[in-house]
């Protein structure tokens, strides 16, 4: 059964890719959705079975064996991976369903579903791998599918550029990850999780070796999960169709970095220096992306920066060792961010492709279902009490508080900014007067059921998702279902709630709730009452201008990496390769002909000269032989 979970999306990819062109779109879409939904059902049964057994492994074949470097192609389903599988296939199936409606008039409909299925295959491979190398297969594979899907509308060169940027930035991380894998193999003599973790206890490791290895793994995670400094690809990745942004760039692929670190928690636990770096990277990313998000006007860009920021928050949680909280937030984030992206997709769909929130407004009554689901999503992400985001964010904040109150304060600021930009987006889109063209106004329509159904499902999950891991404060130990469940199967999971007094916890929760509710009030004042519209970018001044221009990080990378590389390439080719090296080779080659230019003058065609030469030669020989006594003859 386990291999089938992987195989079905792969078969779906082959089927849609080869035959989809000749079939009705509805059929192709349904089959592709089924190829993800059936694995969801299979994962559910596995999920049930895992109550009894801790883990299941299946070895398909030996992929590669050279000397002691032995890589079996084997799959592992334990409590951690099955949870990821459920998220991937569950949300994946919903997004497939949504895409049938969203992509219905695209000429390359079948290819879109083929790529989506391929993505699900690689993502499942990533989480189901039993060793780091098979994980790496999935890791690179999802990057590849992301490249295909970002550049799906490949007629537009800008989109192609965004796709390439994503792939190449991911590759930078991948190289780090690959080196990390080599290092792990060197340290442990294996890449299989269970073997590494079991050897960890008995081995004496060289000082710092594990730090370097885990740092290299983290470099991989930075690339995939869009952390500073490798985050700039994610906002650009919004060039892809919106369902892609929802599935790949919000719910699943970008969380692979979190998964990797949680999976390797045993290693990271022993590398406090790495943990420190993860903490600060996560926090910095979270704040930085949130600030940029405040001044973006493209609905998808705002959500993209929000994703970067939330991922930063998860890394912050990882850095302080709250793996369970990170996984919890990963889950709820997958729910509400997928919901928000799909909702944004519904808006864009209705607006005929318009993505600028300054040209929207007043959509509340025109798109009621989208509006109400969007409300849930927004409230969930800003941490409105009792919605899913509230609980998961609260857990992270509590864990961070336990670590350091300064970090906690900064994280709280980050989530306050999150609340601001999300509400700004929300009010500008759905409230006020409609600011689009008349044509758009006439065209406005609620999306079909096929698209709103996933929205509603995700809205329910976003609202109620917190129930899987209620704070100990509310429901006692038994309420911490997700944490308990992990603790039963995976080590290194512990929730922070147990270590804080109830009063402190109430306080923290109160602060977070206050921030969320205050943000609603302030944003309502600014954007609805005063109907304050964001100004054009050129009119902005000071830090606003910097934020709107994403702090010129892209330009910076362009100036310090891309352009020097291109200049260097031209210089290497023109000067070094052509002139210096090839010039030297040609000079050596030309040397004989240079010499012969003079030597050939001897052959002047004058017979008397030749004869004279001959006689001279003979006389020379005679002299040498008889006068000098050299033994020539």
């Amino acid at each position: 059964m386990i291999p089938w979970i992987l195989l079905l999306p792969l078969l779906g990819f082959v089927f849609s890719g080869l035959a989809g062109k000749y079939l009705p779109k509805a059929l192709t879409g349904t089959i592709a959705t089924g190829a993800v939904f059936i694995p969801f059902l299979l994962s559910l049964t596995l999920f049930g079975r895992l109550g009894q057994e801790p883990a299941m492994t299946v070895t398909l074949f030996d992929w590669l064996a050279v000397g002691d470097f032995h890589i079996p192609f084997s799959l592992l389903v334990d409590r951690l991976s099955v949870w990821m599988m459920l998220i991937i296939t569950g949300i994946g199936a919903l997004i497939h369903l949504y895409s049938i409606g969203y992509m219905h008039d695209d000429a390359r409909f079948h290819l879109f579903f083929a790529y989506l299925n391929l993505f699900v295959f690689f993502m499942l491979l990533l989480v189901m791998a039993d060793n780091y190398l098979i994980l790496f297969f999935g890791w690179e594979g999802v990057g590849l599918c992301s490249y295909f899907l970002i550049g799906f509308w490949n007629q537009n060169p800008e989109y192609g550029k965004a796709a390439r940027k994503a792939f190449i930035m991911n590759r930078i991380g991948d190289l780090g990850l690959l080196l990390g894998l080599f290092m792990l193999f060197q340290l442990f003599g294996s890449l299989t999780y269970s073997e590494i973790f079991s050897r960890l206890e008995t081995m004496r490791l060289a000082e710092g070796a594990l730090t370097v290895a885990t740092l290299l793994l983290f470099v991989g995670a930075m690339g995939k999960s869009a952390q500073i400094p490798l985050y700039t690809w994610l906002p650009d990745a919004m060039a892809g169709p919106t369902p892609v942004s929802a599935l790949i760039h919000a719910a699943t692929m970008v969380t692979a970095g979190i998964y990797l670190i949680v999976r390797s928690a045993a290693l990271f636990q022993l590398a406090p220096d790495t943990m420190e770096i993860i903490t600060y990277t996560g926090l910095a990313t979270s704040l930085f992306a949130a600030v940029i998000g405040l001044r973006q006007n493209d609905i998808k860009k705002v959500l993209a920066y929000s994703t970067v920021s939330q991922l930063g928050l998860m890394f912050l949680a990882l850095g302080v060792g709250a793996y369970g909280s990170a996984m919890f937030h990963l889950t709820t984030h997958a729910f509400f961010k997928a919901l928000l992206f799909l909702g944004a997709g519904s808006v864009i769909h209705a607006m005929g492709g318009e993505q600028d929130i300054r040209r929207m407004g007043g959509l509340k009554s025109r798109l009621p279902q989208t509006f109400w689901t969007f409300v849930v999503g927004t409230l969930a992400i800003i941490g409105f009490p009792l919605l899913s985001g509230f609980f998961s964010k609260d857990e992270i904040l509590a864990s961070v508080f336990l670590h350091s109150s300064v970090l906690w304060g900064l994280a709280l600021i980050s989530s306050a900014i999150t609340a601001f930009y999300m509400l700004r987006l929300f009010f500008l889109t759905f409230y006020g007067k409609f600011r689009g063209t008349d044509e758009q106004s006439a065209h406005l329509h609620e999306s079909p059921l096929m698209m709103t159904l996933p929205l509603m499902a995700l809205a329910v999950l976003s609202a109620a998702g917190g129930l899987i891991n209620l704070p100990e404060l509310f429901a006692g130990d038994s309420g911490q279902w997700l944490a308990n469940w992990y603790e039963g199967g995976v080590q290194e999971f512990q929730s922070a709630g147990h270590q804080l007094s109830h009063a402190v916890e109430w306080g923290l929760m109160g602060m977070a709730s206050f921030v969320a509710i205050a943000a609603i009030g302030i944003c309502y004042q600014i954007y609805v009452k005063k109907a304050d519209l964001p100004r054009e970018d050129v009119a902005l001044k000071g830090w606003n201008r910097w934020a709107a221009n994403k702090f010129y990080v892209d330009e910076l990378y362009d100036a310090i990496v891309v352009r020097p590389l291109e200049k260097g390439a031209s210089w290497l080719h023109g000067v070094i390769d052509r002139r210096l090296i090839d010039g030297f080779v040609n000079t050596v080659g030309a040397l004989p002909s240079r010499i012969s230019r003079f030597a050939r003058l001897l052959q002047n065609g004058n017979i008397a000269f030749y004869l004279f030469g001959m006689v001279l030669g003979i006389i020379l020989i005679l002299i040498l032989n008889f006068v000098m006594g050299t033994d020539l003859l």
Binding site: W63, L64, G67, I168, L179, F182, E566, L572, N586
Partner: protein
């Protein structure tokens, strides 16, 4: 022996069809027969009995030269490469000018390559090594592009000079070999002073480094590839430059004990070459030239692995030679298809092909992914092992060489972006999708890319025992 005779007789037979249409199918038949035979040998080969002798008789006894051909696992892998690619190359070229001569030369080339990869005698090796140069010279000089004569002459003389140093080294070894013969096993046991060992190693290095080519001996290559007819470029890059790598594995590494101090330099040169060629490839416009520099980069990685010479790297190198051959033949074929249809190879004149030729786009994508070394394509398994081998040597070697993973993605995706995506331009309007023999050849290549990526182990099993033995000699 028949591995050698089939292409030789085929080449002779071609003379009867100098201008005939029958030359292509007949030569294809000969090449396929050789492939069949090679596959037969693969089943026949028993790893426990290291050498499968193909021929062994006295040739010039006065100088201790025997006509001795035999293969071990590495040799078989190279035979597989040669005999797998030759039919693909024949299938992917179409020569209007003197087809009989063209395909005859291709078959002659095949025979010479088979000789190089099976020779177990120094002089026999040298003879085949030089013999391989003749057909490729004529292929490039007769069927090549505008500047063909000058560039082909440069290529010929450059590689020929390198080979002469190798001959010198071989003769020196023979003088100091225990039995004063040119037998491979004998030569490798030659009793050398450290100084002599250094000089012999350097002589061999020069020959092999020019052939591969290793930075900074590479400048003949881009011009030659660009000016050669596509079939010639495929033969050169797909098979011929592997002669150099194979030469290092069989003729240079077993000597290395006396010259170990040279190898760090060799490794450094190879790694510099990887980054250097990759960076140059980023800015070029001509597809063929980009592929040429890409080839320098990829071969640089293989070369670095071979010079490191540990088990992982050697096995990876042999696997990657096969993979690189398949991929580069595919890439040259793709560039040939584009050039034939649009009469241009310049990226800024192309675009939008994917929309008009989806099958071609898909197959090109698979081949490109193989080159970029995405997991589950063939390039990944080889580069993984090579990088791991380099890592065992030094972490910075692996990290620097690993830049190829990033840079290769940069330039290959750039080709794909500019040629295949975006709006169609005047030249690419009405681009016909692949069909017939084009489809078959590209399809076979794409299938090989996937199959060898998903399941590379058979090749590694083939070469395992042989590399082990070679390492023991070191």
């Amino acid at each position: 022996m028949s591995l050698l005779l089939i292409p030789l007789l085929g080449a002779l037979l071609m003379l009867a069809f100098v201008r005939g249409e029958a030359a292509r199918p007949l030569s294809l038949l000969a090449a396929l027969a050789n492939l069949g035979l090679t596959i037969g040998y693969l089943f026949w080969y028993n790893p426990n009995n290291p050498y499968l002798m193909l021929a062994d008789f006295s040739w010039i006894p006065q100088a201790g030269i025997r006509f001795k051909l035999g293969v071990d696992g590495t040799g078989l892998a190279m035979l597989l490469l040669t005999n797998l690619l030759t039919p693909l190359i024949i299938g992917s070229t179409y020569s209007r000018k003197l087809p009989g001569v063209f395909y005859g030369l291709v078959l002659l080339m095949q025979a010479a390559l088979v000789g190089v990869f099976t020779a177990l005698d120094g002089i026999v090796f040298y003879v085949f090594w030089e013999l391989a140069l003749l057909p490729i010279y004529f292929i490039c000089a007769v069927w090549g592009g505008e500047d063909r004569v000058r560039i082909t002459l440069k290529f010929f003389i450059y590689t020929f000079i390198g080979s002469l140093f190798m001959l010198l080294g071989l003769i020196y070894l023979q003088q100091h070999a225990p039995g004063q013969t040119f037998d491979w096993a004998d030569l490798m046991k030659a009793d050398l002073t450290p100084g002599a060992s250094t000089w012999v190693t350097l002589a061999f290095f020069l020959a092999f480094a020019i052939k591969m080519p290793v930075f900074p001996f590479h400048t003949w290559q881009p011009d030659t590839y660009v000016n050669a007819p596509t079939g010639g470029a495929m033969l050169l890059s797909g098979i011929m430059l592997k002669m150099g790598i194979y030469g290092v594995i069989r003729w240079m590494l077993p000597l290395s004990d006396g010259a170990a101090q040279l190898y760090p330099t060799f490794i450094a040169l190879a790694i510099v070459g990887i980054v250097y060629a990759s960076v140059i490839a980023i800015r070029l416009q001509d597809i063929k030239r980009i592929i040429a520099y890409a080839s320098i980069a990829h071969v640089g990685l293989i070369a670095a692995g071979v010079f490191v010479g540990n088990e992982t790297a050697l096995q990876g190198a042999i696997l990657q030679m096969l993979n690189h051959g398949i991929n580069i033949v595919g890439l040259f074929f793709v560039s040939d298809i584009i050039e034939n249809r649009t009469k241009s190879r310049q990226l800024n004149e192309l675009g939008g092909i994917a929309k008009q030729a989806p099958v071609f786009a898909a197959l090109f994508m698979i081949i490109m992914l193989g080159t970029v070394a995405v997991p589950l394509t063939n390039g990944f398994a080889g580069e993984l092992l090579l990088l791991k081998g380099l890592y065992e040597y030094h972490i910075w070697a692996a990290a620097t060489a690993g830049l190829t993973l990033i840079l290769c993605a940069v330039y290959m995706l750039r080709i794909y972006q500019f040629a295949m995506f975006g709006p169609a331009k005047a030249l690419t309007e009405g681009f016909r999708d692949v069909r017939g023999s084009e489809l078959i050849v590209l399809g076979v290549i794409a299938a090989l890319v996937i199959v060898l990526g998903v399941y590379p182990q058979p090749v590694l099993d083939l070469t395992k025992a042989a590399t082990g033995l070679l390492l023991e000699m070191k």
